[in-house]
Point group: C2
Chain length 210, copies 2
Amino acid sequence: MPKPHAPDKPAPHAARRSEKSRRAIYDAALALVAEVGYPRTTIEGIAARAGVGKQTIYRWWSSKADVLLEAFLDLSDQASREAGAQDAYVIPDTGDLAADLKAVLRLTVDQLKDPRFEAPSRALAAEGVVNEELGRTFMTKLLEPSLQLYVDRVRAAQEAGQVRRDIDPRIALELWVSPLAQRWLQYTGPISYEYTDTLVDYALHGIAAR
Amino acid sequence: MPKPHAPDKPAPHAARRSEKSRRAIYDAALALVAEVGYPRTTIEGIAARAGVGKQTIYRWWSSKADVLLEAFLDLSDQASREAGAQDAYVIPDTGDLAADLKAVLRLTVDQLKDPRFEAPSRALAAEGVVNEELGRTFMTKLLEPSLQLYVDRVRAAQEAGQVRRDIDPRIALELWVSPLAQRWLQYTGPISYEYTDTLVDYALHGIAAR
């Protein structure tokens, strides 16, 4: 994914101006997609709303999909920092898998209920359902990297002897991630900490009688 | 949901004509929503494509959402009949919960891959993500009744002593339904019988080491 870049050796005021434009473009892109949907969001519209020239956007990104993907990554980073996470790209490993998964899922519940996140995320997710190319890009660049954090955490638990060796971590994580995602996407039920805690318990111990 | 009704004591040819119109309207509604999306699907467009008057549609349904919901119910009924299910509204109870769940999920995999089903279902699901009222209607009338079949089957397994009594069946079913739904909606991974079989095994027995 292209990262915005300033000209070589920028003067300090130029770097500040670039950072301000970049932030304005992200905000405009997220607001616009939430209001009019992905198909009617355009580079021109983002530029007008951000108060920058269209060429400023094209200098940094090649398409509206790229602008939006990066705006979402930035939004997630912000949310993680505000939640006090030291590093957004690690799931804690205290040695207690259930507790670690429950803690991360509670942060996800907070994020799904955050209005800054909700409307633009829904607009992008909805488009991904009917636009396979965008859906796959969205999956590869936004969803899959965060799912891989769970893969790593489940592998560590396998090495610690807490999860069975024959379990595929990439499928296992769907037992807690997907129910939460479906309740959010399709209104199939309420979202709460109690709910995500329950998912983790069921996923770890199964529902069958012993 | 309103069901189409013929006038009192219709002559046989009038009933046949009604049935033919009803089928043409369902087909037109599903084709149109797949092609242009939910927001641009109109009663006028459905009527024109079905070759019936707009008033024929308004006599039987009050909105395009109603037409589409019924068209989807009819499509599911057809798919179930073709798959040889005796009754689309029952999950088998052979006494082997894992086998019964795997069998039903394999039929769902087939349905998700059926092109007649895929495009209109994606169009409706995408709209439900950004249109909460439609999303909730879609959930209540289409999704929830099929999820309740799993609730009944899990309850029967609880009574048979195969599933723990403290398990909430309405949450338990999400361990196999939601991962499949998310892979379909968000392209988070391939869909196969092997995959759904694995979900059932993980959900029943958990991933934790014993």
